[in-house]
Symmetry: C2
Subunit: 562 residues, 2 copies
Amino acid sequence: MPDPHPPRHSALREDLLAAAIVSVLLIPQSLAYALLAGLPPQVGLYASVLPLVAYALVGASSVNAVGPAAVLALMTLQAIAPLAGQVDPSVAAVVLAFEVGLLLALAAVLKLDALAALLSAPVLQGFSVGAAISIALSQLPALLGSPAHGVHLRALLRSWWEAAQAGPAVHLATAAFGLGSLALLLLARRHLQALAARWLSRDMAQLVARSAPLVVIAAAIGLAWALAAPSHGVAVVGRLPTLHVPLGLPMLDAGLWLALLPSAALLALVTFVSSFAVAERLGLQRGEHVDGRRELAGLAASNLVAGLSSGMPVGGSFSRSALNADAGARTRWAGAWTALFLAIAAVLLAAPLAWLPRTVLAATIVVPVLAAAEWKAFGFAWRYSRREALLMGLVAAITVLHTAEWALGVGVVISIALMLQHAARPHAALIGRVPGTEHYRNVERYATELTPGVLSLRIDESLLFVNARLLPGLVARRLDAFPDTRRVVLQMTPVNRIDLSGLEALSTLQSVLRERGIRLDLSEVKGPVLDGLRAAQWARWFTGRLYLSHHQAVRDEQGMAP
Amino acid sequence: MPDPHPPRHSALREDLLAAAIVSVLLIPQSLAYALLAGLPPQVGLYASVLPLVAYALVGASSVNAVGPAAVLALMTLQAIAPLAGQVDPSVAAVVLAFEVGLLLALAAVLKLDALAALLSAPVLQGFSVGAAISIALSQLPALLGSPAHGVHLRALLRSWWEAAQAGPAVHLATAAFGLGSLALLLLARRHLQALAARWLSRDMAQLVARSAPLVVIAAAIGLAWALAAPSHGVAVVGRLPTLHVPLGLPMLDAGLWLALLPSAALLALVTFVSSFAVAERLGLQRGEHVDGRRELAGLAASNLVAGLSSGMPVGGSFSRSALNADAGARTRWAGAWTALFLAIAAVLLAAPLAWLPRTVLAATIVVPVLAAAEWKAFGFAWRYSRREALLMGLVAAITVLHTAEWALGVGVVISIALMLQHAARPHAALIGRVPGTEHYRNVERYATELTPGVLSLRIDESLLFVNARLLPGLVARRLDAFPDTRRVVLQMTPVNRIDLSGLEALSTLQSVLRERGIRLDLSEVKGPVLDGLRAAQWARWFTGRLYLSHHQAVRDEQGMAP
């Protein structure tokens, strides 16, 4: 196995190279995500400098590329848009980022990293698809040069309807820039790498394909300059303010903080879940354990700093993190170098960037966002579990038709309900010995031998309140078919936990069986479960025997008192 | 084993005897529970006639004694008291009963009997204790002759404080009747049976002890008559209206129905859970399977009829059902006979009952309610699970200090959170062979043998969204100690279900292991789990082997393709 941690001295060179590549991608992304969130483009640059340094100082993953991200920008838009009349969006975005940072810090202190588990795979995948569609739809007016805008589909359609009545719904020059660059980007993504590979090496071909967006952006800038596009009504990025990041405390307004709190909580959850998933996956490939609490702390620091430096909520970006890892980043300092390169480039490139049509930025968002969405997840889910597939579809639909917050909230509640529903109706198997082994399996699925007088059952669930009441009835129904039973032996391997309700059910089962002259025995009770039973002094009421293996239990060999 | 179903011809005589005994208990209880709910005493009688006949026609259990019950009366009080200014309590009680009936009928049609599982043992036991204290406190003013009243502790204390400022907080003559009968009932419950057993047979002694409340009531009636108690300010039951049950549709007022709906939903849940628990327990002892949906239908019919016949919400009473079973009831018709005897007795005994001081009825409630509460449950829970014990205490406290509805709501939410929390942090055991057997157990708890190159793990939880993300990390950490591993074998007996998130985690684990040159195999995958995996065509991506038993997996014998 190759050593995953070669000596440190070469890390600087590799980090610098990765940072250079990532920062090239980050410049247009940061501008575009700020526009997506309904903020001035420079906010995206502000969010891409100091927050990256903060993550490098505190964060857990060596490859996680922090900064503005597409889904977070969409959620930021939906959070701050309802307050548009009362407070400047940039002010609201700063408060939101600071609140996200505070909540992540609180989660790190209270060890709440397990809360990430609330977002199940179908919810995340449905959300991914729904958010991609929402983002693409939100960029459609910009692509076509329409002034329409809206937080979700209904608002967008209403705004578009109003705009269409006031004047032309499409601005032809803008649409030419937008749809032209969209077509080029789609073609490049589909065919460029294969085409380039005919003449170039595989690595070079990949590099060419990856730099397509840069070429499109450079060409658009040149064309806009040559045609004096702004004088034809094409909106351009415009002269960015000189990059000295405005520092300051977020506005201390209790009403504003309270209004943004629910959105901040969901943003914090999504930020952590999406960043941690990428960091952990890339980490496992590199033989690196990413610590959840430290990742929380790193993301908390980034967002707090974003809130202090006129930024917007930030998190790990899937596309940039993967690029970072591919490009050979070795330590978290690659992120800090990325910030430095971005700052230098923003200063040097301010003049040409001013000519970049905003519609081209919209095109550069739409293509990768639609490509990264997990479109195939639904078909896969449908084959495995209809209910989870429907949940996925519902979450996607709510994300598109309403808001990300509602979609995630409904998704979490339904995930829990589905889990409870399964746990509430356990599968109960009558088990028999697989001939020639000491192994016991379901008599309905395998050829097995039964031992007369002994009823062997395996209840395939932990004994918890959601199912405990069923236990005596399940056993009693099995007994109807075996009236000569003298012992019931429960194989306890599937029982991972017994809660108070389960303990009561076990005691009820024992007394019901005893009234019929039948002894209740247990086999293969797991260590932690047995510890709990002993702590509760179950020997006071449990009168059966315990066996290390089910085979011994059926033969009644080496039984122990409780 | 004795035949649990002896021939039918003798059932009538036994049912009649049980009915006679139960109806004697039911008369004072029905009056007292109506007063507890803040209703005129005759409402209790109305709720004890036709609803019992409805249950006999539709219900599931042969021994469940339906009618007014203490906890349901408390919840009825809390539901209708806030509407006191707007609508007559009797009218509200009728609407409430009808709504409870409709919801139970809906639950029966939609097969929602599994919802009963939402109330875990700690919630039910905490509620039982809290409700007993609440009921006892609510009867305290009646026992002492104070006009104070209140839905919960705060209202009661405030009302008492106001009453104490307006006049004497205790009415001496009433308190003499109340506390006197309370003392006699407590003494009888503690000592009478043992005392009587010195001279009488065991059965006769039990009969004497059980009839103590009747003797106290009869003596109180006689004393109240002899001393002309009402003229000294002692409140008596008074002349009940002739028992012809007023029939009629409940008031059709959308606002009232809507206001009572949340209370009706929780009353329906508590009615079903408490009645079904008693019916099922008594049924199992008699070798009788009580069907949940049919029990829902029976309780629905009783409550609908209670709503049509000027009654109040009804359910199975634990004390009367146990008495019914003890007294030898054989069929559901014992309930109908009980209703008949009650109707006859109410007519014949109307004259003496009119003299019964209400304070004595309060005493007859307080003693059995306090005795039946599960006081010892807390100590038992504390030894087994601190968290569940604290939940129990919290539910009891909210029941006493606030309302039953809040207590149950908070209890359900915390029960689910505790369950998720446990599932989110699975126990992972490194397992080895118990020498001389084909059985594999935790190497930290048993003397076991390991096979070089093979890492055997048992993840003690279903692979669900709440824990799935941890799986690759858990396995990776175990690998650190065994760098020479060539195969990882997961023993799947504790895995009762794999959801979509779990499936994804399994696939991630496999690809992470493959990058390290390690094969992932599974042993003892249960039938339903394997069916699901095959339906999702996992053979497309799973490259390991499947083994019937873990012993075969470790020896790599008889491995199957997925």
